[in-house]
């Protein structure tokens, strides 16, 4: 007698749970719709070609030009600097934790890395602005500006070390023990086992970790805005102020930009650029992770 009621309830619950799962799909569609629909009017004013190849970005001052290269250069400069710092450190820490550290030391060190990962990015921005630039960079290079790309790269690097370390640690530990034991049996020492057996075995996992960290560095906002400043320019000098894609978006939204103006639309075009870059990197990283899981599962 209660069977139909029970069935209806089960069906209802299934629907609700499916709805929860579909929120994520709707979110992705929403992001794409919003970015594209607000960028279209922008690209009617500014051709895609001149946007992608222009070397001058002057969105808020006349004469206005919208060439994204200076913003892209600033973003890539900060992200590459961060990776140059974080990849050796993160990988080194992962190797230490997975291959060398005793279990006790491991349980002590891992939480510290997790705390580093949990520190809000605005705190790193403050750290860059009040410590790294005045107390380190300007002592070594007196020419360094108050806002500079180098300090941003350093703090973003610190910020992504835990990401790289914990993902690489997972990758290294997934390499079967038998491979290590085989190498030890051939008289290899610990470094040789790590460098010639474990690292090649975990290669796709390590690459995925670096890619995910790169995507995070490219999209990092608050630390970069506080540390690197807001001067869009094409330069290789890391001691001067640059602007990134993200800090441009922040700069516009801090001001009172009315809805419908070209500055307002330009932040959506810039965000679309950022979104496409990070999405591409993430998709490649996911593929690497899947390949690496298939290798040993």
């Amino acid at each position: 007698m209660r069977q139909p009621l029970r069935k209806a309830r089960e069906g209802l619950i299934y629907g609700v749970l499916l709805g929860c799962a579909l929120v994520s799909v709707v979110t992705m569609l929403g992001i794409i719709t919003v970015l594209v629909s607000e960028s279209v009017p922008f690209f009617r004013e500014v051709s895609v070609w001149s946007y992608l190849t222009g070397t001058r970005w002057s969105a808020l001052l006349e004469p206005r030009t919208f060439g994204v290269l200076p913003l892209l250069a600033g973003t890539v400069q900060v992200a590459c600097g961060a990776l140059a710092l974080a990849v050796p450190v993160g990988l080194g820490a992962a190797i230490y934790l997975s291959e060398y550290a005793s279990p006790r030391l491991r349980t002590l060190t891992k939480p510290i890395l997790e705390i580093l990962a949990g520190v809000p990015t605005v705190v790193y921005g403050y750290f860059a602005l009040t410590f790294i630039t005045p107390d380190i960079l300007q002592r070594i290079f007196p020419a360094a500006e108050v806002f500079n790309a180098a300090s941003a790269a350093i703090v973003v690097g610190i910020m992504i070390v835990p990401t790289i370390a914990s993902l690489c640690d997972d990758a290294l530990r997934a390499v079967p023990r038998s491979l290590r034991e085989g190498a030890y049996a051939l008289a290899a020492n610990r470094l040789e086992v790590t460098a010639r057996v474990v690292l090649p075995g975990a290669f796709s996992g390590v690459v995925a970790a670096v890619l995910l960290a790169l995507a995070r560095a490219l999209g990092e906002t608050m630390a970069v805005t506080l540390a690197a400043g807001m001067t869009p320019k094409l330069t290789l000098n890391p001691l001067t102020s640059v602007q990134t894609l993200t800090s441009y978006i922040v700069q516009v939204s801090l001001g009172d930009t009315p809805h419908g103006t070209i500055e307002y639309q330009s932040i959506f075009a810039v965000a679309l650029t950022l979104f496409l870059i990070t999405l591409t990197i993430n998709v490649i990283a996911q593929r690497m992770i899947r390949r690496f899981r298939e290798e040993y599962d």
Partner: protein, 311 residues
Amino acid sequence: MSASDALFEPRKQRRALVARLFHAACVLITGGAVVVLGVLLYRVWHDGSELLSLEFLDRFPSQITPEKAGVKSALWGTVWLIGLTAAVAIPTGVGAAVYLQEYAPRNAFTRLIQLNIANLAGVPSIVYGLLGLAVFVRWLRFDRSVLSGSLTMSLLILPVVIIASREAIAAVPNSIREAAFALGATRWQTVRHHVLPAAAPGILTGVILSMARAMGETAPLIMIGALTYIRFVPGGTHEAAPGLAGWVGWFGEAIRDPFVVLPIQIFNWAEQAQPIFHKLAAAGIVVLLTVMLILNGAAVVLRAFWQRKQP
């Protein structure tokens, strides 16, 4: 010493030396990460302790008399934002995880949802801010309110909540489900009475960590416009009429109030050039890190408590 030993000895020593150097480098690097955390915490404490007091928590920010400024509006803004975010993101995220783990058929559509969640987790947070600006602030006309902020934040941490909850649910042994089914329980009864209670400690830990992350996020909230000197707390300027209806009315108005949160207040202060504002920023960071530490501690304690209760 035999001939073969002499042949191998020089290389053997070099190999051992290189291996020892590498070991030392790894120790140095890992130790370096610990030192950086120490320096960071020390600097923040050093800069901020001078202005820290209980009154600091109970004063509003001020441009004119910065030495008498405080984080009252930001602290309460954070409490409101996290409360509402939790109320939206936890049920939705756990629901989605239950669907994917317990209900979803193994087909292309399910794989698409899973891939999509992994990709959403990698979308820069500022992009969520633009989504919130276009959808909640402009399209749904929630304006620059706590409601817009927490809905945006919910979408941002949803992938994290889903991934953490799925891991916890996947760790529940299959025998528990089979036992429930064998006794005639429906799928929902199995989930409700057996799977979810068993997965609760793991889910709870993941959820609390994701809330700590939401607490530190700044960029998306700057996009939806939570950045002005605000000298009141959400709901603080409205009177609640007596009774439940009055309370509901007050709540409805409170969530439409403009707001500021701790990380934005910190950003605001850190951006100013005068040193006094940097001290304020440091004091704000101490408050923010303390709240996050309490949350993380709560996650650890709750997990331990729950694990003891379960056989």
